[in-house]
C-alpha cells in the first residue's frame, strides 16, 4: 500500500479541522512488528476511511446483531434504589467523618472562627500564599495574612507550577462518600488551578452538603467540567498498599463552614 495525500478526499466542510491533509496510513505490519491479540485480521480498507462509511457500517452491523431471533426483550429500569440518607441524619457530621476517612483534613468553623481556623490550617500546611479563583466569595481569606494570587488574568502553567497552594470553594459535597465536587464555578475556577499546586484548601458551606450520590447528580450541571475529589491523590498499585500523593495536591484541607 502506498501512502498518498488526501487532497482528492478533502471535503469543503472538513470534519477534521485540525488536519491539513488526510494521510492514508499504512498499518500492515512491517515484518517483526506484531499486532495485538484482539485486533481483527486486516480488513480491506484504507485508513481512515470516509467518516460516513465507517459509521454506516458499524450501525448496520449493530442493527443486524439486534434483529430477528436475536432481538432483545424490553427493559424496565427499577429506580427504587435509595436516593437519600435517612431523615434526621447529620449530613455535615457524616461528611466530615467520611472525608477524613480518605485522608482529607477536615476542620469545622463558623462565621466568627473561620479566619482563625484558616490561619491554623495554613500554618499547619506551611503555606503563606494561595492561588484564588477570580470569584469574590473567598476574598475573606485575605484576613488570614496569606498572600492571595488571583487567577485574573489567567496564570500560565509555569506560574502555577511554582505556587505552593490553592483555595477553592465547591459546587457541593456528598456526605455518604466524603466527596467534594468542583464544577468550574466562580469560586472554583479552571480545573488546572486545583491540580498543579501541592496544597488544596477547600471551603465547603454546610448548606452545600447533600447526602448521597443521586442527590448530587440531580443538582449538578453535566455541561460544566466537573472534578469529583475524595481525599488527596492516592494509588494502590504497589502491592495494593495505599500510598498518598502521586499527582495532584498531596494535601487536602477542608474548611467546613456551619
Amino acid at each position: 500500500m502506498t501512502a498518498h495525500t488526501g487532497s482528492e478526499q478533502a471535503q469543503p466542510d472538513d470534519p477534521y479541522p485540525s488536519h491539513t491533509a488526510l494521510q492514508h496510513v499504512d498499518l500492515t505490519d512491517p515484518p517483526g512488528l506484531p499486532r495485538t491479540d484482539l485486533a481483527h485480521p486486516g480488513l480491506p480498507h484504507t485508513y481512515p476511511g470516509l467518516p460516513s462509511e465507517a459509521k454506516a457500517e458499524i450501525l448496520a452491523r449493530i442493527r443486524t446483531s439486534l434483529s430477528g431471533d436475536a432481538r432483545p426483550p424490553r427493559v424496565e429500569v427499577d429506580r427504587t434504589y435509595r436516593r437519600t440518607r435517612d431523615e434526621g441524619t447529620d449530613l455535615v457530621g457524616l461528611f466530615a467523618e467520611r472525608a477524613a476517612d480518605y485522608r482529607a483534613h477536615v476542620v469545622r468553623a463558623n462565621s466568627r472562627s473561620m479566619v482563625d481556623t484558616a490561619v491554623g490550617l495554613l500554618r499547619e500546611a506551611g503555606v503563606g500564599r494561595l492561588v484564588v479563583p477570580p470569584g469574590k466569595r473567598l476574598a475573606w481569606l485575605a484576613a488570614t495574612g496569606a498572600e492571595l494570587v488571583y487567577d485574573d488574568p489567567p496564570l500560565t502553567i509555569d506560574q502555577l507550577e511554582v505556587e505552593a497552594g490553592v483555595v477553592t470553594g465547591c459546587a457541593l459535597a456528598i456526605a455518604e462518600t466524603g466527596t467534594i465536587v468542583l464544577d468550574a464555578g466562580p469560586d472554583q475556577g479552571r480545573r488546572v488551578l486545583s491540580l498543579l499546586p501541592d496544597y488544596h484548601l477547600c471551603v465547603v458551606r454546610a448548606d452545600q452538603v447533600v447526602g448521597t450520590v443521586p442527590e448530587a447528580i440531580a443538582r449538578l450541571d453535566p455541561h460544566r467540567p466537573q472534578t469529583w475529589i475524595s481525599g488527596p491523590s492516592a494509588t494502590s498499585d504497589i502491592e495494593l498498599s495505599r500510598v498518598e500523593g502521586v499527582h495532584g495536591p498531596r494535601t487536602l484541607h477542608v474548611l467546613l463552614l456551619a
Partner: protein
C-alpha cells in the same frame, strides 16, 4: 523520525492449561496474587456491606446497560450529536487498525512525537502504543502501574492493577534501570518503600505532563443525552492528561454508553465500591466537548467497534458488554488468584476475559484457535464472579454456553475421546437392557480392578482423557451387583429377612 521500541503483546501465548502450569510454578507470583486479591476482596466486601440497597443498584445497573445495548444505534447517534454540539469531533472506527490510524493522524496533525496516556484497556486492546511507535511517536503511560509495566517491557496482568504481579523490590529495580531511558532518571539511592517509589514516579512524569501537546485516554462512561464523558481514577494522572494538553483524544468502546446523565447516579456507586473497594475513588473527571479557557482546545472521541457488534449478536453472550471493567470478578476468582492474568493470554484476563475475549475473537460466528478455545474452560464454575459483578453478568452461564459452542464447532479440548465417550453413553442409556449389560460388566470388573474397594491412579493408556482425573483422585470400585439387580433379586430387600440387617451388597453404599 525517532525510533520507538514496540511493546510486547499477547500474541502467540499458549493455551490456558499450559500457561497456567507455568504460572503455578512461580511462587513469587502466587504470593503477590494471593495477598493482593485477598486484601481487595475484604475491602470490597466491607464497603458493599454498608450499602443496604446494593442489590437494587446491581439490578438497575444491569437494566440500564441492557437498555443501552438494545437501542445502541440510537444512543450512539445521540452521543455523536451531543459531543459535536459541544465542540468535540466524533470518529467511528470499525476495527483496531482504523482506530489507530485516526489517533496517529491526529498526533501527526499536531506535529508531535509524543503523547501522554491515561490507563485505557481499550487502547491496549487495539495495540495503540505499537501503532504510534511504528509512526515514531512515544506513548508515555502515566498511570503508575502502566508505567511500571511499560518501563519493565512487560505485559499487564490485571484490569485495575496491571502491575499486581510485581512486588516493591522488582518495581524499584525497574525504576532504577529504566527511568533514565524514558526521561528523568530515578534517584540512585531509591528505596523500595511504596512512598518513595510513588515520589519517583511523580517527578519522572511531571515534566511530561507539563510539555505534552496531545493526550490519549479511554472512558469509563459517556452519557448519550448530554455528551458528557467520564474518567474514574486515583492518582491524578488522569486530571493531568485531561486538563493540561491542548488536544485530547478519547478512545471508547461503543458499549460504554449510558442513556442519560441521571444514570451516572447508579454507576458512580457501583464502580468505586466494586473496583477499589472504596466508597468513592480519589478523582473522577467529567467533561463535555470543549470548554473555553479550561482544558483542551480540541477534543476527539473515537467510537470503537472491533468485534463488539459481533458480541452483540448472541442473545446470551451479549450481557458481557455490560461490563464496566471494575475487576471485581478477577479479585474473587480462585483460578485467577492462583495463575494471574498472563495465563489468559489476552488483554482482558480473569472471568470477564474468559467470556469476552472469545466473543471479541468471533466465537459466536466461526471457529476459533486453540488458545481462545481453552479460555471458557479456565474456570471451576464456582460462580463467585457472578455474585460480585455489579452489573450481574452471568459469567458461569456464558462459560457453559461457550463450552457448548466449542463442542458443536468440534473444538472441545478432548475432542475425539469426549465424542467417543458420549456416543458410548448414548448407546448404553438408550435401552434398559443395554444399561443392565453395562452394569453387569462393571460389577464383573470388580474381580480385576479395585479389589480393595477403591481404584487409584489409572495409566493414561487405559484411562485416556480421565487419566488426569485419576492422578489425584480415587474412584470407588464397582459394587458386586448393581442396585437394580439387588432390588430385583431381594424383592426390594424384603426377601432377605430383616432389610435393615441385610442391606444392599458390600460396596454398593459406601461408608465415608
Amino acid at each position: 523520525m525517532t525510533t520507538v521500541r514496540p511493546e510486547p503483546t499477547f500474541l502467540g501465548m499458549p493455551p490456558f492449561p499450559e500457561a497456567a502450569r507455568t504460572a503455578l510454578a512461580n511462587s513469587q507470583l502466587r504470593t503477590n496474587m494471593r495477598n493482593a486479591t485477598h486484601t481487595i476482596r475484604a475491602k470490597r466486601a466491607e464497603v458493599v456491606e454498608e450499602v443496604p440497597d446494593w442489590e437494587k443498584l446491581r439490578l438497575a445497573g444491569a437494566a440500564i446497560k441492557d437498555e443501552v445495548l438494545a437501542h445502541l444505534p440510537r444512543y450512539l447517534e445521540q452521543l455523536e450529536e451531543s459531543v459535536t454540539a459541544a465542540g468535540g469531533t466524533v470518529h467511528w472506527a470499525r476495527d483496531a487498525a482504523e482506530a489507530n490510524a485516526i489517533v496517529v493522524d491526529i498526533a501527526r496533525g499536531h506535529a508531535t512525537d509524543e503523547v501522554v496516556k491515561i490507563k485505557s484497556m481499550t487502547t491496549q486492546e487495539i495495540g495503540l502504543n505499537n501503532a504510534l511507535a511504528a509512526a515514531g511517536i512515544h506513548a508515555w503511560e502515566t498511570d503508575l502501574a502502566e508505567l511500571i509495566v511499560q518501563l519493565g517491557h512487560d505485559l499487564p496482568s490485571h484490569i485495575l492493577v496491571p502491575a499486581i504481579h510485581r512486588n516493591r523490590g522488582e518495581i524499584r529495580d525497574i525504576f532504577r534501570s529504566e527511568m533514565g531511558h524514558a526521561g528523568r532518571p530515578a534517584p540512585d539511592d531509591l528505596s523500595d518503600r511504596p512512598t518513595d517509589l510513588a515520589e519517583a514516579a511523580r517527578r519522572h512524569l511531571r515534566e511530561k505532563f507539563l510539555r505534552a501537546k496531545v493526550a490519549v485516554s479511554g472512558a469509563n462512561f459517556a452519557v448519550a443525552d448530554t455528551g458528557t464523558v467520564c474518567v474514574v481514577e486515583s492518582e491524578g494522572n488522569g486530571r493531568m492528561c485531561l486538563t493540561l494538553p491542548d488536544v485530547l483524544v478519547t478512545v471508547m468502546g461503543i458499549e460504554k454508553l449510558l442513556p442519560t446523565w441521571r444514570d451516572m447516579e447508579v454507576f458512580l456507586q457501583l464502580l468505586p465500591r466494586s473496583s477499589t473497594g472504596e466508597r468513592m475513588n480519589p478523582y473522577t473527571s467529567m467533561w463535555t466537548g470543549v470548554t473555553e479557557d479550561d482544558g483542551p482546545r480540541v477534543f476527539h472521541l473515537i467510537l470503537l467497534d472491533n468485534g463488539r457488534s459481533d458480541v452483540l449478536a448472541d442473545p446470551e453472550g451479549r450481557q458481557a458488554l455490560r461490563c464496566i471493567r471494575c475487576s471485581a470478578c478477577l479479585n474473587v476468582c480462585p483460578v485467577y488468584e492462583r495463575v494471574g492474568g498472563h495465563a489468559y493470554g489476552s488483554v482482558y484476563p480473569g472471568p470477564i476475559g474468559a467470556i469476552l475475549t472469545p466473543q471479541l475473537r468471533g466465537i459466536n460466528q466461526h471457529e476459533v484457535d486453540e488458545q481462545t478455545a481453552s479460555l471458557p474452560y479456565a474456570s471451576t464454575l464456582c460462580g463467585a464472579c457472578f455474585e460480585v459483578c455489579p452489573v450481574r453478568i452471568d459469567i458461569p452461564a456464558i462459560l457453559t454456553r461457550q463450552r457448548a459452542q466449542l463442542v458443536d464447532l468440534g473444538r472441545g479440548p478432548a475432542r475425539r475421546g469426549e465424542k467417543a465417550a458420549m456416543k458410548a453413553a448414548e448407546w448404553a442409556l438408550a435401552e434398559p437392557w443395554r444399561l443392565g449389560l453395562a452394569q453387569h460388566a462393571a460389577s464383573f470388573s470388580r474381580h480385576f480392578v479395585g479389589r480393595k474397594g477403591r481404584i487409584g491412579k489409572v495409566p493414561r493408556l487405559l484411562a485416556g482423557p480421565f487419566a488426569g482425573w485419576t492422578a489425584s483422585r480415587d474412584t470407588p470400585a464397582a459394587p458386586s451387583e448393581s442396585f437394580r439387580s439387588w432390588f430385583k433379586r431381594t424383592d426390594g430387600g424384603l426377601s432377605e429377612g430383616d432389610p435393615a440387617a441385610a442391606g444392599p451388597p458390600e460396596g454398593l453404599l459406601e461408608e465415608r
